[in-house]
Amino acid sequence: MARFSNKRFNFYVMVLMAIYIALLWFLWPHLRDTHDLLWKIVIAVSPTVPVTWVVALMARRVMLADELDQRLHLVALGIATALVGTISLVAGFLAMGKVWRGDGSELFLVFPALCMVYGFTRLGLKRHFTGTWDFWGC
């Protein structure tokens, strides 16, 4: 497998995120007017396709990274998963106890929160191990 250059990787991610935003802006508003269940499902989950593609690109990038970089990715992912998982658990119990009345749409925030905590943690680890703030460099 060929290693991704930062430029190429960033280009693919930018294109996929542009598709994601376009789907949210132009396709999602049609959800209310659609009555066919199959189409409703297709439209509702369509923004997850480019995001899943980005996750696959990131996974490929991590697999091709060197051992220090892989370690930074895994530690950051572990910390992010533990933190966001704990917060989700607390929120779940609050919802079950009817203390907090959510409609389930809050689940939408779990993935972006995971990405955010992962990103900041990785940045901090990178700074600690290599002395740089370079997020993507590996």
């Binding site: 970089d69 370690r71 990178k126 191990f129 370079d134």
Partner: protein, 66 residues
């Protein structure tokens, strides 16, 4: 763990990037090893030893042995 990677690299007049290329790791990984912030895996440590024609224990110094 202390090591002599920087000393051996400088003896060969290689930059961190050059050494990284020879070992197939990033320049930042070499920097982290040299500053003692990251201990390489056993396969990488053997690779470093092979590259410098030395034994692992003469490059990576265990602070607890006397």
């Amino acid at each position: 763990m202390k090591n002599r990677v920087r000393e051996l690299r400088e003896k060969n007049a290689w930059s961190q990037a050059e050494l990284g290329e020879r070992l197939e790791v990033s320049r930042q990984t070499i920097n982290a090893i040299e500053t003692g912030k990251y201990d390489p895996s056993l396969p990488l440590a053997f690779k470093i030893a092979r590259l410098f024609g030395s034994r692992i224990e003469t490059i990576f110094l265990d602070g607890e042995t006397r």
